[in-house]
Amino acid sequence: MMVAGGGETSVLETWVTIVTVAATAVAGDVLTAGAMRRIGDLDVIRAKAGMGGAIKAVVSSPMFLGGVLMMAVSFFALLFTVSNVEVSLAAPASASLTFMGNAFAAKIFLKENVDHRRWLAAVFVCAGVFLLSR
């Protein structure tokens, strides 16, 4: 596996870092989405309470702060990954794995209606990730 810095990274190391980025991103996304659902439409809040009111509504949510913490972990994992793996592999692969993990997590934890259309999208993304790793 070619690396950004000119050294070598094994296939296992490459995918461990990519999966770590994805797993922490899924946790962050689900917590953040759950918080935003509880808070409500930001456009409406901004119209009523202004930008300050909207920001206050968001940052005072413990669930949102938990999501941000997980996203911060994911961000540093991404920095670590893109310094060792080509971004054209790392960015789409971690994002695609995040998308698939989110489909499952959103159905289980957020009770979203993940219909056949969204599952079909997951299959296409799976195939796309397989090709990206070639």
Partner: protein
Amino acid sequence: MRHTLSPQRYLILLAVMLTASVGDTMLSHGMKQVGPVSVTHLGLLLVAMRNPWVIAGILCLLGFFASYLTALSWADLTFVLPATAFGYVVVLLLSKFWLHEPGASSMYRWAGVVLIVCGVGFVANGPSQTQHEPVDPVEEPIRILTGGSE
């Protein structure tokens, strides 16, 4: 489920897509200048925070976060993420023509990106938000126990 996106909301999704892909590419460019980070030298990540490309990438990703939160307040997570997947194509184009990464020319990766974009097209064209019915504390347990449909 409902699908009520105004042109302004499509612009928010466009902002999510562009800021994420451009931000990721800037981070990659900056981290190449910083050098590879190993587990034993994680302090180098703090050094990276002084790199202009890393700073610009972080600013782009802050813009991404603001537009992403706005989108999540009126759409499902499983709608917002795939609806913005065209960003993968942007990343591949930037990797090939700006960063000149050799792997970005691989036909497999282009085919993979095409499949991902096709897949997410199914989602982007569908409903944006699940309607959660208020649960009746008396009727709901009876419905579950009797196996009744909604």
